[in-house]
């Protein structure tokens, strides 16, 4: 019983990791819009480019989120099966879809919603398969 609770809590953590992942992508993109495109024909300006990247506040927030997110992912893997954690982390597809609709006001086609629904259904199946196993181990 206790193990089931833990699994649900961990799944909540994985969802949070995915949310952080979508968030840092957003911050990095925001930062790089300020920094501007990298000019491959002028490699002498690479130092100048790096300077602009690392003096940008958005980028630093993004990098900070990456560190937090990585540590959380390591904590998750210390507790549960990779074959559960990794499929469940596909919820990032759903978050990207929701961000596209509500923050960026993009039009999302019907097949994308159907795909997203399938992903959620698949995550639910994988999550149930881990509860199944937890119930078995407490029985024996």
């Amino acid at each position: 019983m206790k193990k089931n609770n833990l699994t649900l809590k961990v799944i909540g953590f994985i969802l949070l990791v995915d949310l952080l992942e979508s968030t840092y992508e957003f911050f990095l993109k925001k930062g790089m819009l300020v920094v501007g495109a990298f000019n491959f024909s002028d490699l002498g300006a690479a130092g100048d480019f790096a300077g602009r990247v690392f003096s940008n506040g958005w980028i630093w927030i993004g990098l900070l989120i990456i560190i937090v997110e990585t540590l959380m992912w390591l904590a998750i893997l210390s507790k549960i099966d990779l074959s559960v954690a990794f499929p469940v982390s596909s919820s990032s597809y759903i978050f990207v879809l929701l961000i596209s609709v509500f923050l960026l006001h993009e039009h999302v086609s019907l097949n994308r919603w159907i795909g997203a629904a399938l992903i959620i259904f698949g995550i639910w199946l994988v999550a149930r398969s881990s509860e199944e196993k937890a119930a078995e181990t407490t029985k024996t």
């Binding site: 990585t70 540590l71 992912w73 390591l74 904590a75 893997l77 210390s78 099966d81 990779l82 074959s83 559960v84 990794f86 499929p87 596909s90 597809y93 879809l97 097949n111 994308r112 159907i114 795909g115 997203a116 629904a117 399938l118 992903i119 959620i120 259904f121 698949g122 995550i123 639910w124 199946l125 994988v126 999550a127 149930r128 398969s129 881990s130 199944e132 196993k133």
Partner: protein, 123 residues
Amino acid sequence: MVKLLLLILFHDLILANGQTLIKRGMQTLGDVNLMSLVGFWHFIKFCATNIKVWSGLALNTVSLCLWMIILSFADLSQAYPLDSLQYVIIAVLAKVTLKEKMSPLRWTGIAVIVIGIIIVGIK
């Protein structure tokens, strides 16, 4: 197309091996209460000094570079669905190298997720 498929396969193999390595490093941590200050500090020290975790993170970085190379020439709408192969490779590696118990329910769930990703990626 062959070039894209090969690169994606390569990318997914490196990514999957990276995740497996991280998992192998992290499962030796043992039962640590992350909510306590002592436990959390132990966790941080463990991550920072574990060679398997670092190797796994390095492989992840390599796979990210490969992904950028892929995106530099391929359409995202083509590369993204193909890349869902990583879910299958990780499941197989988890079963073979980590000896995780894969029930039919878990395989079904992973298959449904892959189909969902492919449908999301189709224009």
